[in-house]
Symmetry: C2
């Protein structure tokens, strides 16, 4: 298969500011498997970069070690496919840094959409609309929250939200790994299934 024309879509996985189960603002620890799973899904669907946002230098160092293992160390020999996915990962201090890098890369400001498990007071962008705009060459940065989700200030600072993923009932407690996979399939997967 040939690679399709490059789409201008990036993801950011936010570790601060997010909320805990009591809706208090916290910084979360970076999770090994989040990076593997989300970068593999991102690579599958042609996403340009996965920005991992944490202000904590010890966490940044830990994750640089993980990336080095899979990109240059023993992991690269064991399974080159992991490195191919993790090469999409960039570690950033905060969302401002992500926005600056993305804007420089595409030479324009992206539309920033947050994701959340519940409806919020924000503009809702249907998946089919975002899908059309991506195909039309527009730039999007999609934000994912770890822990119990993005802090309201992050959601409010963006241009809107993607609709929460609901299934057949009232339970919608997907992991961020599962939510990211589903959202990428909805935005970038085949229309005919």
């Amino acid at each position: 298969m040939q690679e399709a024309e490059k789409v201008k879509i990036d993801l950011a996985l936010i570790h601060y500011p997010v909320v805990n189960k009591n809706q208090e603002i916290i910084g979360s620890a970076v999770t090994n498997l989040d990076l593997h799973d989300i970068s593999r899904a991102a690579r599958t669907y042609g996403v340009d970069s996965l920005y991992v946002v944490t202000p904590y230098s010890d966490q940044q160092e830990l994750f640089q070690e993980l990336l080095d293992h899979w990109l240059k160390g023993g992991g690269a020999e064991y399974n080159a496919m992991r490195g191919e996915a993790l090469s999409l990962v960039h570690i950033c201090d905060d969302l401002d840094q992500v926005l600056a890098e993305v804007t420089e890369k595409w030479q324009r400001k992206p539309t920033v959409l947050a994701t959340c498990a519940r409806e919020k007071h924000s503009v809702m962008w249907p998946y089919r609309l975002v899908r059309q705009k991506i195909t039309g060459g527009e730039c999007f940065l999609i934000l994912f929250g770890t822990a119990w989700g993005l802090a309201q200030e992050v959601i409010a600072a963006g241009d809107g939200i993607l609709p929460p993923i609901t299934g057949s009932g009232n339970y919608n407690h997907l992991s961020v790994r599962s939510a990211a996979a589903i959202i990428l399939d909805r935005l970038l997967g085949p229309r005919e299934i």
Copy 2:
């Protein structure tokens, strides 16, 4: 929101027989996060049960401890949503036991579909077709492989396969957690996105 009419769909996560990177048949270790992520997605989309298949009694005991923690122990107090998802999990020795339990539950034999990352010599069931049949009340058991995927003998013993999930290019190395989430959304998610 009301719960939708019950669909007759079950998942099985197979730990033996699966293959390693050299396509040799192995038994894999049960992974904590597979159970959390896939059961949460299953619960979200109204799946009846997630059968975790491993013949190893030490693995079965380990995972019974994990289930007990979230269903009855400290985890149940900390986060009841995890137990609500993990209550869908049943541990089985092999696929024959799964088939017997599912057949007894629905009072008929399910259509058994395997999932794999590459096209195999098997009947391919398009997602839209399976979706229609699920809506029409038919029973399906969807098999997921851990490690590097289901052994060929498991794929051959079923009624067919679901199409591999491909994105924009030739990289399709999703985690089983991500693949399960995407497949559930394709089979059971909203048609209008």
